[in-house]
Amino acid sequence: MRRRFEERVGGTGRRAAGLAPALAGGVVVLLLVLAVPVARGRLFGLDPHAMDLGAMLLPPQAGHLLGTDALGRDVLARVVAGAEASLLPGLLAVSVALTLGVAAGVATGYLAGSWVERVVSFALQLVDAVPRFVLFLVVVAAFKPSIFAIMAVAGVTAAPEVASHVATRVRLLAAKGHVEAARALGLTRLAIVGRHVLWNHCRPVVAVQASLLMGEAVLIETALSYLGFGVQEPAASWGNMVAMGKDHFFAGAFHLAVAPAAAIVIAVIGFHLLGDGLARAFERRRA
């Protein structure tokens, strides 16, 4: 679909349009990711859990570049450590979403018309039928609040989106000559789908979706932590930091909420830009 559109509209200028965003996004994400070992290894002597009860709610200053929170903990250290809490569960959500989504996408795209397709697409619509956030609340009510359980559910709820993108591509590809040729050569269905459809032509879609989902996962973690169902104190996550910082927001201690909120925005936009850039890069290569 997009390609046809590109061919119709796209001048060469549009195709060559900026890939710099991808670079920027990639760098941001890389920095975030590197923050994990830094925080875990405490390379810079930052301890996200150390409390200094004589130095509570300090504004940003030398020694505490982003100030301290209500327990005298260093905000910078917690923002850095929070990257881990925000990203690791996100990876879980993404893995679940991609696994289910790709499988379902192939089922609905390649086996179009069969009973398998009907069953799978009904299941996908079913997942979409219950609003995601409400589903989280049901799960939280039924089981102990755990960010990993929630992220697994988030992965399931994201699967339909992945599946629909994969299915669209698979459906387009199934009619292509090289697939027909593979079929004529007597390759097994698994080989055709796995190698000639998925591996060669669906990686872009999957990579882009993964990037977008990571950004979404960060926001889900944030919202749930705010409601008290996400990452639990004393573990630091951006979500529970903003949630805790909001208590002091009106007293003028802005840094407590603003620092982690800025981290969230940077991460989400970074992932989005990465997705955008990836899509452009793949499109360009195809062109």
Partner: protein
């Protein structure tokens, strides 16, 4: 026409199937919960022994179809009544928010599709940045700016008498702008409009000199907007949970939150069902709109779904496709390596007298004490709360059970609010608090002292002052509270609670003034705490 009816029938059948499936899904999750969910559902009453899951489900579903969703475990009132009581507030919020989303996103999307340049890029980027912000953060900033600083909007639900509808505006704005909807609608409108404007019939219209908009609007604007809005309804409902929390808005979102907190199964199941119905209704409406506006399109054909957001970057940049791939791969590798090699930091030096850490315990936490603080033992803890000795005992029991925590106790008896109140009287205490607390919920005062005295284990002691709200009754009272926080399982023990107003009244207009004076906001029940045994520095 015939095809339209056919499409409607098909959609209707699908809807029935999906709603049945959704109800089964929700029921299955709750049924899988540990503990006796059936009892909690109010279906037990003696028949539990015989009722199978199927029977329970059918009974619940049958009730739901006739409008009987069971009885709330918390309030004891019918769930349907609870929903009816606050449903209107959420409906108003959601509809208003969708309107805000449309009126913000459509112009940005249209400009993005028509113009390429720095302003368009900036507007689009701004829309995405806004979508990337957590809704509650936007809410707090909005409250701070518009209510505290500018005093444009009244805050609490119901307002303070001047134009009560004004109180609706801020939550609607926040929910409309910050639920991720703006970015999504911008994306849809941009892509669809770009596509439509490139269509042959639009080109023909343009060549003829006919009004392009009349041709492009239905397919390029109305369709993508309805499709995006319908897709957004579930997210708006989710966002309502957060936004209602921020604004203390009595609606379905708060009801769901409370139900999740209390494991109020009948309420949360009823709400999930309602949300599924709402989302499905929106999807139905969107497909009807599509069938009516673009009869050429086959029903069920999705409107071109853009994969990612598109920022109209003003100038082309060099190709970095391979670089981007390498970066992603490097990021993945680094993350994997980081996870594989990262170890918790080594334990800080343990202060003399502190207990050695058990092997399974989490890493110890360093707590530095201000000068002059000292540690107290169990007897002294009991002595501190003579009027609530059971509390001290509870704490001690919890300490020995959980294996870790701190009780922080005042080194100076004067610092205890209870002692202070006994000495100075309630009026004196209130005066002192008014003097010290500039006025916000849970302003932290000093942590008065600290101790590893309970088996050498960490816990924290706080005093809070501020305003307490009781959501269901919408009551409010000013209080001072002493808390002992047990770090591990989100356990918070209220040690003493003084109601400084003396008479907590509910639904009292006078309270609106109080709420305004202290900055109204939800009262969190947890605070951070130490993890594991603490190593105290500075303990004499």
């Amino acid at each position: 026409m015939r095809r339209l009816v056919g499409a409607l029938v098909r959609e209707g059948a699908l809807t029935v199937g999906l709603l049945l499936g959704a109800s089964l899904l929700v029921f299955a999750i709750v049924r899988a919960a540990p503990g006796d969910a059936a009892l909690a559902l109010g279906l037990g009453d003696g028949r539990r022994a015989t009722a199978s899951a199927v029977e329970e489900y059918l009974r619940w579903l049958g009730g739901a179809l006739t409008g009987d969703l069971g009885v709330s475990l918390r309030t004891g009132r019918p769930v349907a009544d609870e929903i009816r009581r606050v449903g209107g507030n959420t409906l108003a919020l959601a509809v208003g928010a969708l309107a805000v989303t449309v009126s913000v996103a459509v112009p940005i999307g249209a400009v993005g599709a028509l113009r390429r340049g720095v302003p368009a890029a900036l507007a689009t980027l701004a829309a995405y940045a806004l979508s990337a912000l957590p809704a509650f953060f936007v809410g707090y900033v909005a409250i701070y700016v518009f209510t505290r600083k500018l005093d444009v909007f009244p805050l609490a639900f119901g307002g303070d008498g001047r134009m009560p509808w004004l109180a609706f505006v801020l939550p609607m704005l926040v929910l409309g702008v910050a639920n991720g909807g703006v970015g999504e609608v911008v994306r849809h409108v941009r892509t669809a409009l770009e596509r439509v404007l490139a269509e042959d019939y639009v080109r023909t219209a343009r060549a003829k000199g006919a009004p392009v908009w009349r041709h492009a609007a239905a397919e390029g604007l109305v369709l993508p907007v309805t499709a995006a809005l319908a897709a957004k309804v579930p997210f708006v409902l989710g966002g309502a949970v957060v936004v209602e929390q921020v604004f203390n808005w009595p609606g379905l979102g708060r009801l769901a939150w409370q139900a999740a907190l209390d494991r109020d199964y009948p309420v949360i199941m009823g709400l999930a069902l309602l949300a599924a119905v709402a989302a499905r209704a929106a999807a139905l409406a969107a497909s009807v709109a599509q069938a009516a506006l673009a009869p050429g399109a086959r029903p069920g054909t999705e409107v071109d779904r853009p994969l990612v957001m598109r920022v109209p970057w003003p100038r082309p940049a060099p190709t970095v496709g391979r670089t981007a791939l390498v970066l992603v791969a490097a990021a993945q590798a680094a993350l994997a390596a980081g996870c594989a090699t990262a170890r918790p930091a080594e334990a800080p030096p343990v202060a003399p007298g502190a207990r050695p850490v058990e092997a399974s315990a989490p890493p110890p936490v360093t707590v530095r004490l201000p000068a002059g603080w000292r540690t107290l033992g169990a007897d002294e803890l009991r002595g501190l709360f003579p009027h609530r000795s059971e509390t001290a005992d509870t704490l001690l029991a919890a300490a020995s059970e959980s294996g870790r925590f701190v009780v922080l106790v005042a080194a100076d008896p004067k610092a205890s609010l209870v002692a202070f109140a006994r000495r100075e009287g309630l009026a004196g205490l209130r005066e002192a608090l008014d003097r010290h607390v500039p006025g916000f919920v849970q302003a932290f005062r000093r942590v008065d002292a600290i101790e590893g005295g309970l088996a050498g284990r960490p816990a924290l002691y706080y005093r809070f002052t501020g305003v307490a709200a009781s959501a269901p009754q919408r009551g409010v009272g000013r209080f001072a509270m002493e808390l002992i926080v047990v770090p591990t399982e989100r356990v918070v023990y209220t040690v003493s609670l003084l109601d400084l107003t003396g008479d907590t009244r509910f639904d009292d207009p006078a309270l609106e003034a109080l709420k305004a004076s202290v900055g109204w906001g939800p009262v969190a029940t947890t605070v951070g705490a130490a993890r594991g045994p603490a190593a105290f520095e500075g303990t004499p």
